[in-house]
Structure formats: C-alpha cells, structure tokens
C-alpha cells in the first residue's frame, strides 16, 4: 500500500524532470555549482523529454533587464573567482538574482581571504582568530531583509550559511527550514540542514515541505544518523519509483552498506558505479576502504593509478593512495598521503582516522593519539577514532584507561561486535571476568564479525573451571566457524576440539570424545594429542568390556555423568 502511495507521489516523473531542469538553470545563474551538479545528475538519470515538453526559461522582469549587463559582467568575474570585483559591479542592482550574487560574492570573498590569511598569520597569538570579516556585515544586512520578508529561497539559504558560520546554529536551522519551504528543489539548503541535525528527535521535530525531494533528504539523514536499515529502505523505494539509473543513489546505497560492513554488497555496487561513471572521484575513498578490508591489492592498485590519472590533487585520491600504501605495509608513505589529504581539506574526517591507524602501525603512539583526537574534534561521533584511541592505550598497556574509549565507541555503535570484544579483552586484563563474559556473550549475540568472541568466552570459562559452559561455547564456536563456510586465518578449531575431546572423556562420553579426537587429527598442532586421546579412550573401553565388567556393571548402566548437559542445549545458557 505504501509503495503505491509512493509511486503516485513519484508518478509524474516527467514533472520531476521539468522541475529539475528549471532548478538547474536557476542554480547555475547564481553560481551554486554543487546544487546544480546534484540536480543535473538526478535529471540525467531520468528519461529525456521531448522538445515541446521542455520547461520555459524563467520569466524575465523589468528589473532583470535593467541589471542584465552588470549581472553578466559580474557573473563572469565571479566564475573567474574575482569575487570583490564581481561584488563591486553588482552594487546597487535591484533584481533578486543580482542581489543574491552580490551577497554571495561578498561571502565567498571573505572566505577566500580568511583562507589566505591563515597561511601568514602573526604567530600563535592570532592562530584560530582569523575569521571571515564579511560575515557580520552580511548577517546584519540579511537579517534586516529577512525581517522585512524580502528574501527569496536562495538568499535565505545564504543567510542560513552565514548564521551557521557565526555559530548561531539554532537560528540557522530555522532559516534553512524556511529556505526549503520557499524553494524545495535547492538541494544545497537540504544538505546544509542535514549538517545541523544531530539526532532523530530533532529530525522528527522539523516541519519539512511535502515534496519528492524530502525522501532524498530523509534517506541521506538516516545514513548520517547510522539508521542504515531505514536508509536502505528509503533508497530502495526511490529506485523503484524510477530513479534506478541515478549514480547518486547507487553511491549512497554503497556507502550505507559500507557502514553496516556488508562488504560484498558494497563492493558490487561500487563496481557498478565505476562502470557507469568511470571518471568519478567522489566516494572512491570509501571504495578503497572496502578493497583494503578485503585485501584486494590489484584492484586497489588499479583504482589508485586510475584516480591519479584523473586528478591527483583530490582528497579522495590521496586517501586511496594512502590505503594502497598501507596495504603494502609502507606506512610512512601512507601517512604522507593522508597528510596531503588533510592539507587539501583539514576537516576530512576519514583521513585523520586513517592517519592515526598508520601511526599506530609505525608504533608512533603519540602521533596516533593526536591524529585520533583531531578526528574526534572534527566529528565527535566518529567511532573509529574512539576505537583507535582505545587501541593505542591498549598497546601502551593501560587496559583500564582504554576502557573509557572503548565504551565511547561502543556507545556510538552498540551493535558492533569489535568494540564489545575489545571491551571484553580489557575487562579480562583487569581480571573482571564477569564483565568480560557479559561483553563476549553480547558480542556473539549481536553477530560477531571476527568470530573471536565465543572462543574467548570459552577460554574464559575454561580458566574459571566452568567446564560445562566452556564446552558449550566451544561447541557453538565450532558450529559458527563451519557454518560461515569460509576459512578464517586465526580460527582455532583445533583448540576447541581438543578441549571438547578432553571434556567428553572426563564425562565418560566416549563416543563423542573419540569423534572429537579423530577430528583433532585433521589439524597439525593437535594431531599428537588427538592420537593420545584416542589411545586413552580405547584403553578405558577395553577395561570396561574386559573381565572386571561385572564390577563396573552398575556403573555402565549409569555411565552418564550426573550433570550431563547436552552441549547443544542452549536453553539454560546464560553466562
């Protein structure tokens, strides 16, 4: 039913296409390049319109005609990044388009100057003091106009940006919402709003216009807030509604899969994306992360070379190269490239974290801590940086200290087994076995990625002489390992089998014990023990069956131990 409603909403794809085409030209005229890029990508994914269906260009008012010459001149200056010049010639123009471009050039001029200033500041005294001086003036002027109600969708957006830059976040959210209501098709405003929404409650409290673009926004928001399931659902709906060719949606879905660590799905999508859009650089750092995790060296190498050919001075390219070097264990070079990425954009979150990882590999813990801290400064919700900090302190042999960081990471990703296993290990080191057990069990329950939690849990039980629990865990572990099919490097099936063999032997379950012992012989490190156990079993069996059988007769009827619990009986299992 819901699907039907959605389809009707999107039913008029032609209408959507028309809207997109008109908003593209609007954005272009105002120099809003990224919004027009987004809209164009989306429009490209839709079917072509026949000639007579094309939307008419926007009406031309008297004011526009008046400002035409100045605007054309200013726009060309603007395109050449001569913002001050552009603003100078636009002064006094009264059309809305000219006014927006006037304000926007002033804003950009301020930003550009700020960036330039930062490089030659007057020492630490001024560090961090450099700011866009134009912001305040812009705010005063825009707020006057805003109160008078003279702002259109684009200028409202600019006002919001100015407010956000001045750290007036609450006001900024209001203005962005207003801008969206005024001009729902301007994706830039939505995107700015998404940066300001911190949690789902806030998202729900916003009153947003009922437009097809809202679905894109919601899907984007769900991805940002780590509500991947909802995001995927949204994107699926969008694809079914007719946007199946959109590269934007494909990349977003791939990123979502990456976030929930569904690596194969994500890889497939990225490959598809690269086929459709071979010169794309956006999101390729995420792709390289996936390749890295899968240790796909040739693919990563190909990607890196390809991207360097396209544009070597892009953040994404640098990250890809960094990953490439990291996979080849050339960590110094990797760190160098991540640094380069950060020079290109210091607010690039992923690069900070990755650089931290590289420093960790190089055993430069202090630099690693710094890098992770920077990552956290950029985004407090970056669980990888918290996790990395925890690991750093773990390496420094401070298990209690790292608990805090792991807890933070766990808070941000409650269902990620890696944090839970790390927490459990720290607790184990602190001899807090009870807590450790809880962590491992939880890690197993949420779906253990590395398949280590059960093994650790079993070993913990073994240490504490809780042999029944240990046996159950080993049993589960073996099942888990074999059910996942693929061969894991660190799998310790032999350990589990060895323990189970001994366990059954002690409990006089000789059939099971001999089975385990036989399986033990498949593994090099446990072969001898397996054989020894087999010999013991046959000895004991001989004894039972030989003359003294009458002596053991009452026992043999009752040769099940008192506390025999089937290892597969999980009902009573609560660690």
């Amino acid at each position: 039913m819901k699907m039907a409603a959605l389809c009707s909403e999107f039913g008029d794809l032609v209408q959507i296409k028309k809207q997109l085409i008109s908003v593209i030209s609007l954005c272009k005229e105002r120099g809003l390049l990224h919004s027009s890029k987004w809209a164009s990508e989306l429009a490209f994914a839709l079917d072509r319109l026949p000639k007579d269906e094309l939307p008419p260009s926007s009406p031309f008012t008297e004011e526009d005609a008046q400002d035409l010459d100045a605007l054309t001149l200013a726009k060309s200056y603007f395109d050449l990044k001569e913002y001050d010049r552009s603003a100078y010639f636009l002064k006094g123009c009264c059309s809305r388009k000219a006014y927006f471009l006037y304000m926007y050039s002033r804003y950009l001029s301020g930003e550009k100057k700020k960036d330039d200033e930062t490089v030659d500041s007057l020492g630490p005294l001024e560090k961090g003091q450099v700011r866009n001086e134009a912001l305040r003036e812009l705010r005063v002027e825009l707020s006057k106009k805003h109160n008078a109600g003279e702002l259109d969708g684009f200028t409202l957006y600019l006002y919001g940006v100015v407010l956000r830059k001045l750290d007036l976040l609450k006001e900024a959210v209001e203005v962005f919402v207003e801008a969206i209501h005024m001009l729902p098709l301007h994706w830039g405003a939505w995107l700015e709003l998404s940066n300001l929404v911190t949690n789902i409650e806030m998202l729900k409290s916003l009153s947003l216009p009922d437009c097809w673009i809202k679905d894109f926004f919601m899907a984007h928001m769900y991805t940002e807030l780590q509500m991947i399931k909802e995001a995927l659902q949204k994107y699926q709906n969008l694809i079914e509604a007719g946007f199946s060719k959109s590269t934007y949606i494909i990349s977003q879905i791939a990123v979502a899969y990456h976030n929930i660590r569904d690596i194969d799905q994500a890889l497939a999508l990225f490959n598809e994306l690269r086929e459709q859009d071979p010169y794309r650089i956006d999101n390729m750092d995420t792709f390289s992360n996936l390749l890295y995790v899968k240790s796909m060296k040739p693919e990563l190498s190909y990607l890196a070379h390809n991207l360097v050919e396209i544009d070597k001075y892009r953040v994404e390219t640098c990250c890809v190269i960094g990953n490439y070097y990291s996979l080849r264990s050339q960590h110094e070079k990797a760190a160098l490239y991540f640094q380069r990425a950060l020079k290109l954009n210091p607010r690039c979150l992923g690069a900070w974290t990755l650089m931290g990882h590289e420093y960790m590999e190089m055993k430069n813990t202090s630099a690693a801590i710094q890098a992770y801290r920077h990552a956290i400064e950029v985004n407090k919700r970056d669980y990888r940086a918290w996790y990395g900090l925890g690991q750093t302190y773990e390496i420094l042999k401070m298990p209690f200290y790292c608990l805090y960081y792991y807890r933070k990471a766990h808070q941000l990703r409650p269902n990620d087994s890696r944090m839970l296993v790390a927490l459990g290990e720290s607790y184990e080191k602190l001899s807090q076995q009870l807590e450790a057990k809880k962590c491992y069990w939880r890690a197993y329950s949420v779906g253990d990625v590395e398949k280590m939690a059960l093994l650790k849990l079993a070993k913990l039980h073994e240490q504490l002489n809780e042999s029944d629990d240990a046996a159950q865990c080993y049993m589960l572990y073996i099942q888990d390992i074999f059910s996942c099919g693929e061969q894991l490097e660190h799998a310790e099936v032999s350990t589990a089998l060895r323990y189970l063999g001994q366990y059954y032997f002690k409990n006089k379950l000789y059939d099971e014990a001999s089975l385990c012992a036989q399986r033990c012989c498949d593994y090099n490190d446990a072969r001898e023990e397996g054989k020894a156990l087999l010999r013991q079993i046959s000895q004991v069996r001989d004894q039972i069956e030989t003359p003294s059988a009458d002596l053991f007769a009452p026992l043999s009827n009752n040769n099940t131990p008192v506390r025999r619990v089937s290892p597969l009986n999980l009902i009573s299992f609560t660690p």
Binding site: G123, G128, Q129, L191, Q339, F400, Y401, L430
Partner: protein, 773 residues
Amino acid sequence: MASVHESLYFNPMMTNGVVHANVFGIKDWVTPYKISVLALLYDMTASKITLPERRRLNKLILPLQQGPDLTLGQFLKTVEECCPQTAYAVKLRLHEMADGELKDMEYFFSTLPTPFTAFDSEAYKTSVVGLFMRHMLLAYNKLSFSQVYKLYKSLQHYYHSHYAKPTDGQVDLPALVADDSDMDLTSTEDTVGDRIDREEMDTPLHESELRNDNTPSRGPLSQKQAEYFLARQAYLLKNDENKALKPAALQEELNNMLKFNPDFAEAHYLNYLNSMRVQDIFLSAHCLLHYFDRLILSGNEGKSNGDEGYGRSLRYAALNLASLHCRFGHYQQADLALQEAIRIAQESNDHVCLQHCLSWLYTLEQMKGSDSTVLTEDSVKMAAHFCLPYLASLGIQSLVQQGATQGKTAHKLMDALKDTDILHWKHSLSELIEISLAQTTSIWRMYGKSTMALQQAQLLLNMSSLEPVNFGVQQNNTEAFAVALCHLAELHAEQGLYGAVSEILLHLKEQFPPHSQHAKLWMLCDLKIQFERHMNEGKYHLAEPLVTAIAAINKTEGLYRKGQVLKALNRSTEAYSVLQRLQVHCERTKCTEVVIRVMLSTAELHWESSGFSTALPLLLQALSLARQHHLQQLASETILHLAFTQLMLGVPEHALRVLHEAIEPVLAHGSVMDKGRALLLTARCQMAVAGFRPNGQGQADLPLAVLAVDTLNEAAAYFSKLNCKERLRDVHYLQAQLHRSLGQTSQCNKSAMLFRLLDQELQSPAPPVSMRL
C-alpha cells in the same frame, strides 16, 4: 556551495602529523604591545632621565617584557607613574608610526640599537634588554610582506582604539579585539560599563590583571594572558572557590578559549576541575582524558627536561583518573586505575610517581573503610626517603588521624604533629599547616578538651595566608577552614551561644555555597546543632524531621539520632533495635566514639525499664573504652551515668564519690547541658545522702541539704540558659521540697509556683523524676 569552502586552510605548523606551536622555534611574536615596549626601551636608552625615575623604569622592564599584553592605556599609565616625560616620548613615537605610513614603522625597526654593535649600552646582546630586542628583531625580520602589513594595521588599531575610548577609563579588552560591538549582538556592553567603574587606573599592574578575571573577556587571549588566566583560576578553585568565576561563566570562558586555540591543553584540565566542582562525572572524565591526550603530544618536548617524554604523563594520566573516580566514590574503578598507574610506574622505575600512587592507595583504603596503617607507614618512610616532604607529612597526618581513632596516646600524636609542623614551616607548605591546625582542633575536641580546641581553631582562623597569590588575605576556602569553623560553631552551641552559632553558620554558608565541595561539612554541623537544640528544649516533633536530613549526609550519625528521638518519644523497642544495629555497625567500622554513645543510650533505655543493674556492665564497658581512647568528655558522661545508676540502686554515697571524680572535667570542658545535668545529679545525691525523703519524713542532714539547694540553683541557671524546661521543672520541684524541709516557706512557695507554671506550660505529664539523668 558553502561546504566546499569549508576552511580550506592548511596548517603550516603541522609536520609529521603533529602540530607544533612554534614552527620556527620563535617564542615571541611581534605584537603592537611589544612595539610599545620596544619604543619605551629605545627612549630609555636615547634620552636623559633623572636617576630616581630611571630606577623606577628599570624595575618596570622585566614585568613589562614578560607579562601579558596590555592595552595602550594601561601601558602608558604604568610608564607615566614612573616617568611622565618618557611616557610622553613613547606616545609621540607611537603616534608617529600609527598616524604615518608603513615606512615609519619600518624606519623605527631599523633605528633600533642593534644589540651586536652597542657594546656600552644596556642593550648589549647578553643583557635582558638586549635579549628581548634580539628576539623582537629576529621575529620582525622573519615576517613576510603581508605579515608586516598586518602588523602595521594592528598597530594602528591598537593606537587608535586607545583614543577612540574615553580616556578616563581604559577598557582592558585584549589588544586585537575588534570594537565593532554594535554589530555583535552577543556583546557584553553592560559589563563594559562595569569595568570602567572598577578600573581605577592607579592600581598596580598585577592588581588590574586580577580584576580582569571577574569580567568575562571576549575574544582571543594572548598565550601569556591565557596561561595567567588558567593558572589563576586553577589556584582559586583549589584555595578560594568563591573568588573564582562561577562554574557556568568559567565554562563559557574556557569554551571561548578553546574555540580560538584548540591546542591549549591546559584549558581542558581547568575544564576538568570545573566539572568536578559541579559533580559532573561525565564531563570531567572526558576533559581529563582529553587533557592527557593532548599532553602526551607536547610531552615530546619534555624530553629535554630530563623526563622520559610522554611515558611520564601516561602514568600521571592513570593516577589522575584514579583520583577522579575516588572523588566520585567509585572505589573499585579507582582501584583499577591505581593498579594500572602503579604497574606503569614500576615498569619505568619512576619512584616519585610510585610514591604518589602509594599515598593514593592508602587514601583509597581509608575511604573504603579498611585499615591502612601499615600502608601509610610504608608510604611515609618511602616519601621521606625520596625527599618528598609534602607526601611524607600528608602521610603522617593521615597516620595521626588513624591513630587518634584507634586510641593511640595523645602525646605521641601531638609529637608527630609537632614534627610535621616543623617540616611544614621549613618548606612553607602552607596548605599542610592549615590542615595540621584543623586536625589538632579535631583531636582536642575528640578528647573533650573544648578550651584547647577553641584555641587551636582560633589560631587557624586568625592566621594570615602564606600563599603567594593570596598573600595577606585572612582566609582561604580550604577544607581545613571549613572544619575549624564547624568545630567553632559546635563549641559555641554547646555553651548555648546560639546567636554566635548562627553568625558562624551564615559565614560558612557564604564561604562555602551549598553546591561546593565542602558544603556538606557545615550542613551536617548545622543540622546537628539544630537537633541538639530541639532535643534540649524537648521539642521532639521538631527534631524528628531533622533525622532524615542528617541521615542523608551521614548515615551513622543519622541512625544514632534516630535512636535518640525514638528513645525520647518513648518508643523504646524501636529505639533499642536501632541502637543495636548501630552498635554492630560501629564496632565493625571502629567508630569508638559512636559505640560509647550508643552504649550510654542503651543504658538509658535499661533505666526506663528499671533495669539499673543490667545497665551497670554496659556502663563499665563504656567507661573502659572511653578511658582507653582518652575520650574525656565521654568518660565523664559515662561516670555521670554510673553515678545515677548507683543512686538508683540505693548507694548514694558511692555515687557522690564517683561524681566527685567527674564533676571537675565536666565543669571545665563540658557543655552547658552536661554541667546542668551533673549538678542536678549531685544535688540529688546530696539529698539522698542527707537522708532526705520525698514525702518529707525522716531526719535530714541540714547542712548537706543547704549545699544541695545551692547546687540546684546553679543547675537551674544552666538549664534556663538552654531553655530546657523539663529539667527546670524537675529542679524547681526538688527545690520546693528542700525549702519545705528546711522550713523556708516563702522560697518553697516560690519554687512551687515556678514548678506549677512550667508544668502548665509543658502540659505533658511529668515523667517520674527518678527515671532520668
């Protein structure tokens, strides 16, 4: 789209992933203020100045060079005080530069005497002035064109902002803040007005800086200003919380500082202290870890100082985490963190850190309530070995505290305290001196020597602070002062001086606002005094609600008070069970004082059921305990109880003899209530010895009866002081009887009338006189 332009700056100070604040190794940067100082130095070398003026100026050089940046107004004012002529010259020179062109500034720098050439002048290269000039010249020469231009711009701004303001009040905003506050809607115009009022320009340099702290300064601070601000606030938080900024204001200030300079690690530490103040564990843990994460980075520089880099800060990070958990009462967590700190310290052979850990370890053990004497002794020995006087005497103080509760002899304790005092004065550990005095007060009080306690408390309160920052200020806001003041209040309450008590408590409330760390001390003290007062006046219904409040602050105390109220309300069974529970608890935690008091209360319960003989062993046990621990006041009280029991058992002669032993210390040190009760009891014993019968029959020993009348009069005076009507009624009753038997009818009638009046007022039926001490 805006996000593309998201501060595209790259940080030139970052190498190898680590941001170095001083990429060129230059600590000093040329600022407009520094140019003014240079101008001053130049004029001092160039012109002729009279000798006294020159001397004053010379004294000024070092603070000006090393202090935080001042505004032009402040700067000129300080110079003018020393030498108006030079101040004018400096102003003129700055005016030339600021109103001229860029070349004027460049010309100024080129005319500065080069320290390498001027051999004879003060600006020779190794002198203080020469060094400063060299630094400045070097820094100036390294500036690029655009930086020079910027410097010139800021100099102009610096100069003109001085004249833009009314000259009578200099606003001490940091030099580079733009004054366009009309556009900044969040600007604090009202505080600007405030500041002008307060800014008396004739205050010395550091004083005017202190004032800055009260007004939130907007915008970035210079490195030195920020450091000074942090150091000062941290000091105030430790010693005098009221003078520090309010938690919210401080937080805002810190956020502001971190916004402009995110690499300023110390700000995180102050943030941690500030969050501790408001008991915010979440934020304080976060800030603490953040601080140490930051510190570890700068730790590389520490290598040159002889410490082995960031390993050291790691150890202290773990230690600090332990102390954090300790403060919040998470003993298990604290223990784990401490173990970690100890392990790392051991691995790296850091004895000093280990020593710190050890002293935390025994503190922790103590907080957990287990015996840590051995640990403490070890700690003291080790601390003495590693020459850490602070830790050593802290350990001794802690030992003394434990010794006092465990009944060590007084002279040993006092000796130990005296020895540590010598140590304190030698190393001028003012904080420990205060603690030591407060501790002596507490010990005397515990022993029941109220006069000595009073004297020690006064000594502490009248002592001037020895801290350099608060020098000469009478009082700090440390725990020691809170303790001493609380004792003072209780001592006054014992003497029935409630006016004084309320004044002291008012002062405490002002000094230690309810949210602050030591507020619980006076809260408990206040409640206890109120409770005692209500109990003495017989207003049990008023005392009862206080019990819950006391229990919230101190569980043991609350339970004891509950037992007392129940006893007073004649709910003996409940009272008995409460007291039993308390006794078991206190015997486990070794709270001897409370144990004795509980025993006394239990004995009183026995009296109510006329079980006088059953009370005796209990009282004897209490007596021996009290004597063993030198608790004189409790011992005297126990003797009173004993005497009463004996009286009731019909051996008043014995009772009187026992009483003689106790009456002296009670009259000397006891509270008014105790004095009254002791005298009342004496009178009753005297009456009994005199062979006096309530019904007036029998042959009484008249001289003894007269003595008893006197004793009763005295007791009545004490009871009326406390407004203790019930006991007053008893006194009048006995007086009337005595007078009657002595044949003094008029006095008899008077006492009888007083008795009647009180009886009517009290309404409750008089309990049998004999049943109560």
